[in-house]
């Protein structure tokens, strides 16, 4: 009995940081409507800065001072990023905002690597609270008790701030109705910057508070952001109390799941999230979106490029692809095969994004499911490559059917967050289910059949498969089903009013895109000869989005160009410098700022004489 109580308390203590991060995210989103990926970076920086300050000031009272100072410093950094970057993106489509803030995350990651080095940082014990208290015959760390009290205290303070102060009322007014807040003459700029400061501060505090419990690592940012997304989706966007409730729920799942079987926690989180979303799609304490205020999905106008140009472009691309082997050696061939694989991945993402209007932030899950499906079949069951390539899209398609069923019930940034959370779950399973997936080491020896081992043959094989798949996707996009998807994207209201089952259409579209990504994953597995969890990590999902952005949403040649550009750039940057993440991040930010419609999209606009 006592043991369970103590375990419960551990869970509560774990909830504190998660709550701080999630409610900061929720606050910022409520006012600015931007889902800030870099929020996880603020969490990480909070821990890093507090670590250094404690070192500097000494471990005595220094820790507590560092906690406060670090939060304020990082909060100010957040405000600076709002002023310099996000302010320019408030009117851009959600996708560009998300991707730009991910660029910030990449830059911060490399900056942190440069400043603090790659090793985990072991924080100090909290001075004055380093002992433990006996409870029911068990020992509970004093620091845990402090965290348990801290969570509700922050909740209370925030609630007071939001309900009792003029500033807080403005924040709430802006959260509930931006136009009205603007009409009331609220100085939006200051309000937005202020909220960003507060949100970043909370994230940093959350990070710094973790120091005595766990070492600070360079993975903290992505790990926490995925968890914070789960908390916000479960708790309900914009509800601070909801964030608290959900943080407690998730943290308790972790605390107790670990007792049964460590790996089971992921499944538990998934099940809880699924149940909540089925019963209350807008989260435990969130409010259903008012249909009258729903912003329609950004309409990406199809390119006005004349048909003859498209045909010439396609012939040119085909000619280059066919002639490539004559120009390149084995290395060049492998690189080109990788471009092909990622072109298909990007095209499948482009399909749900451009045609379906669904922002998936976890598309790599399906690339990974395809890769693992093929690899497991070949290495564990000894089946040949051909079977693996058939199973890859099926495995990913089924995965997408399962996850997609939940995703299509949400829209916009909610869908983005949920898809990312699912991808993170898939990643965790691959990472932790050691017996089957080989964990971190992955699966080795995934080689093509004898006839396809030469890079040249494999290149042509990939070319054939990818070309067929791209043609298939294009075909579906211009079929009645594809138009039903477009209709659902343009207006789900009208679609339902003319007999279209919007959820179902989206669901099948999602699954189809997943299957296509799985096909790419299968090809990828045999190209590399091994599969590891990184294939479905968040950065790969973002890579896909960047490729789509580079190529322009809603274009046929786009994904190919985008894939070639990104794979090429990465190879170039990675060979020239070891801060490739930072460079890539800066590139992404620049791209989102300069070309909010993608490069090919802009060419199309110039072609049409500047009409939007």
């Amino acid at each position: 009995m006592g043991f369970y109580v103590v375990q419960f308390l551990t869970g509560l203590a774990g909830a504190a940081s998660l709550f701080l991060v999630a409610c900061g995210l929720s606050l910022v989103f409520g006012v600015t409507r931007v889902v800030n990926f870099a929020h996880g970076s603020f969490y990480m920086l909070g821990a890093f800065v507090a670590y250094s300050l404690t070192k500097w000031w000494g471990a005595g009272l220094g820790f507590w001072a560092a906690l406060v100072a670090s939060s304020v410093i990082v909060g100010a950094l957040g405000a600076a990023i709002e002023v310099l970057l996000l302010r320019r993106l408030y009117r851009s489509p959600e996708l560009y905002q998300l991707v730009a803030t991910f660029g910030v995350l990449l830059v911060v990651q490399d900056a942190a690597l440069a400043l603090w080095g790659p090793d985990n940082l072991l924080g100090p014990r909290a001075p004055g609270l380093s002992g433990s208290v006996a409870l029911f015959g068990q020992r509970v760390p004093q620091y845990d008790l402090f965290l348990i009290v801290l969570g509700p205290t922050v909740l209370l303070l925030l609630t007071l701030l939001l309900t009792r102060t003029r500033w807080g009322r403005l924040v709430r007014a802006a959260t509930e109705d931006r136009d009205m807040a603007a009409a009331l003459g609220v100085n939006q700029r200051h309000l937005f910057t202020g909220v960003f400061f507060l949100g970043s501060l909370l994230a940093a505090l959350g990070g710094a508070l973790q120091l005595p419990r766990a070492p600070a690592t360079l993975f903290m940012d992505l790990n926490i952001i995925a968890e914070a997304f789960v908390v916000v989706v479960v708790g309900g966007m914009g509800s601070i109390f909801g964030a608290f409730l959900a943080a407690v729920l998730i943290a308790e799942l972790h605390a107790f799941g670990i007792l049964i079987f460590p790996q089971v926690t992921i499944v538990l989180v998934f099940v809880v999230m699924a149940v909540v979303l089925v019963v209350r799609p807008w989260g435990l304490l969130g409010r259903p979106e008012d249909a009258r205020h729903r912003t329609p999905t950004e309409i990406a106008t199809p390119l006005g490029v004349p048909r003859c140009l498209v045909v010439i472009g396609l012939i040119a691309v085909a000619a280059v692809l066919m002639a490539w082997p004559a120009m390149a050696g084995d290395y060049g061939l492998k690189l080109a095969t990788e471009v092909l694989v990622f072109a298909l991945f990007a095209a499948s993402l482009n399909f749900i994004l451009g045609v379906g209007g669904m922002i998936s932030f976890g598309h790599a899950a399906y690339l990974g499911l395809g890769a693992y499906g093929a690899a497991l079949l070949v290495s564990r069951l000894g089946w040949p490559m051909e079977a693996g390539l058939v199973v890859a899209p099926l495995a990913a398609g089924f995965g997408a059917l399962l996850f997609g069923w939940f995703c299509v019930r949400l829209s916009g940034v909610y869908l983005a967050m949920l898809s990312l959370a699912f991808a993170q779950i898939a990643w965790s399973v691959a990472f932790q289910w050691y017996d089957v997936t080989g964990g971190d080491n992955g699966i080795q020896g995934v080689w093509p059949s004898a006839w396809a081992t030469s890079p040249l043959v494999y290149y042509y094989l990939a070319l054939a498969v990818v070309a067929a798949a791209l043609f298939g996707l294009h075909r579906v996009a211009s079929s009645p089903f594809g138009y039903a998807l477009r209709a659902a994207r343009d207006s789900s209201l009208l679609s339902e009013a003319i007999g279209i089952d919007v959820k179902q259409v989206r669901w099948f579209g999602f699954a189809l895109a997943g299957a296509a990504a799985g096909m790419a994953g299968g090809l990828y597995a045999f190209l590399k000869g091994n599969v590891s969890p990184t294939v479905m990590a968040i950065p790969v999902s973002i890579d896909g989005l960047v490729m789509v952005l580079l190529g322009g949403v809603q274009t046929v040649v786009g994904p190919l160009l985008g894939a070639a550009t990104l794979v090429g750039l990465k190879t170039e940057i990675a060979s020239a410098t070891n801060v490739w993440r930072g460079v890539l991040g800066a590139l992404i930010i620049g791209l989102a700022l300069l070309f909010p419609r993608g490069i090919v999209g802009h060419l199309g606009r110039w072609h049409r004489g500047g009409r939007p």
């Binding site: 089903f481 477009r486 009013a497």
Partner: protein, 251 residues
């Protein structure tokens, strides 16, 4: 014959009754105007009949079916087409594609993932387009249309399902005087040729009294009076809510 019978319809938004017990009928082939000041609950009534909102109480019978609380798409299949107060079309598609998709949905052919849409339902789509006088706009993208054209396209999309009842939410709002005339005579023609019943929300009293066979006046979520245009026009209470409270009459 009664086509639509609404009884005791109620809808609350956060404790406030937007529709507080509404009864009315629409007979087959009849043209009925639903009028009332802004916020009276007209659109909310439409949304419940069309399946966009679930009523909190009340029944809606359409052609022998109880449709209250059913999905919008199911209601559409039973033969109720509608337009929206803010004209809604598929903005990224061409005018013709807008109609093709509605026709394909009506014929249950949208599940097809292989045929190219280019050649499907073209004749029927062009036919509908001709009926709303937009043949020359076939290849235009809906996002580029003028508002009056958008309204006509919306009407054509609603007609694609061969409805027996059309719900038109402020069909002439935002249009100039001459465009109103064009649109209303279009609707008159549709009523005659297709024998479809029309229930329309309208603020322009000239349009109401020129085209409706019967008028229902809604005020604060209740039916204030209903009857022939002449009777309603001369009713003191109607004058009162429109003139006395200074509500918008023609906007």
């Amino acid at each position: 014959m009664t086509l639509l019978a609404v009884r005791g319809l109620v809808k609350y938004f956060g404790g406030v009754a937007a529709v507080a017990g509404v009864d009315f009928d629409v007979a087959a082939g009849e043209v009925v105007a639903l009028i009332g000041p802004n916020g009276a609950g007209k659109t909310t009534c439409f949304n419940m009949v069309g399946g966009q909102l679930v009523p909190d109480a009340g029944t809606i019978h359409f052609d022998g079916h109880e449709i209250a609380g059913r999905q919008a798409r199911a209601i559409w299949r039973l033969g109720i087409g509608r337009t929206f107060q803010i004209a809604t079309t598929f903005a990224s598609m061409t005018v013709l594609e807008n109609l093709q998709i509605a026709l394909l949905s009506h014929r249950r052919r949208l599940a097809d993932p292989v045929s190219s849409i280019k050649s499907l339902e073209i004749a029927a789509a062009r036919d509908l387009l001709a009926q709303v006088g937009m043949t020359d706009r076939a290849e235009r993208q809906a996002a580029e249309l003028a508002y009056g054209e958008l309204k006509r396209l919306e009407l054509a999309v609603a007609l694609a399902g061969e409805p027996r009842l059309l719900l038109l939410d402020e069909p002439t709002a935002g249009l100039g005087k001459s465009e109103r005339g064009v649109l209303m005579s279009l609707i008159d023609r549709v009523v005659q040729t297709r024998r479809v019943a029309v229930l329309f929300i309208e603020h322009d009293m000239d349009v109401v009294f020129g085209h409706a066979g019967r008028v229902i006046v809604l005020d604060r979520g209740r039916v204030l009076i209903e009857g022939a245009p002449d009777v309603v026009r001369n009713d003191e209470r109607v004058k009162d809510i429109y003139l006395g409270r200074g509500a918008v009459v023609a906007c």
